[in-house]
């Protein structure tokens, strides 16, 4: 069966520091991969999605970037964090863009 791993679960970082969140998927090949951010009491905002290695689509301009160095690995990064980057970050995968997505357990990021 397929599983998705996302770490760390919680992270407290100072303003201006770099960020790297990692997500890996097991049990499937060539998944579509996603990074979402969820603000308190709000819906999920799609940040990036990827349909293959090295292929990244960005939905909103921001202080973050994403990379997909391997088929089942998706990384969310920032060179310098802002206070507004705080939130709950979720990684997800799907078989295709037309099918349901399956989510990891999320990373709670607090920028102080």
């Amino acid at each position: 069966s397929q599983t998705i791993h996302q770490w760390p679960a919680t992270l407290v970082q100072p303003v201006g520091s770099p960020l790297s969140l990692e997500c890996t998927v097991e049990g499937t090949s060539n998944p579509n991969l996603y990074w979402y951010r969820q603000a308190a009491g709000r819906g999920l905002q799609l940040l990036f999605y990827s349909v293959g290695i090295g292929q990244i689509s960005s939905e909103v301009p921001q202080n973050l970037s994403a990379s997909r160095p391997q088929d089942r690995q998706f990384i969310l990064s920032s060179k310098k964090l802002l206070l507004s980057d705080s939130g709950f970050y979720l990684c997800a995968w799907s078989v295709s863009l037309n099918t349901e997505a399956f989510f990891g357990q999320g990373t709670r990021l607090t920028v102080v």
């Binding site: 799609l46 939905e59 863009l97």
Partner: protein, 113 residues
Amino acid sequence: EDQVTQSPEALRLQEGESSSLNCSYTVSGLRGLFWYRQDPGKGPEFLFTLYSAGEEKEKERLKATLTKKESFLHITAPKPEDSATYLCAVQPADKAGRRALTFGSGTRLQVQP
């Protein structure tokens, strides 16, 4: 612009008191509508996919229905363990078929014993 609106924002039920959650959507063509359950501090858990008006899906005490403008998640005789936030998402259709899900803000359900 695609929009997904969920109502009510919050709902408190007594155990056994059936009710429905609403998801209204405006999209330029619908490929699919998805329901998720999210527990506090956790990632969303997939429940259902609906593809066409008139379609229904059931799982235990939950039943999802779809029309051309909205979807309902019916909860029959809920139990306290059904307490969670329920999220609705739509997959818009476009020519390239390369659009990801658009989520609503969710309905926070609390079922009291």
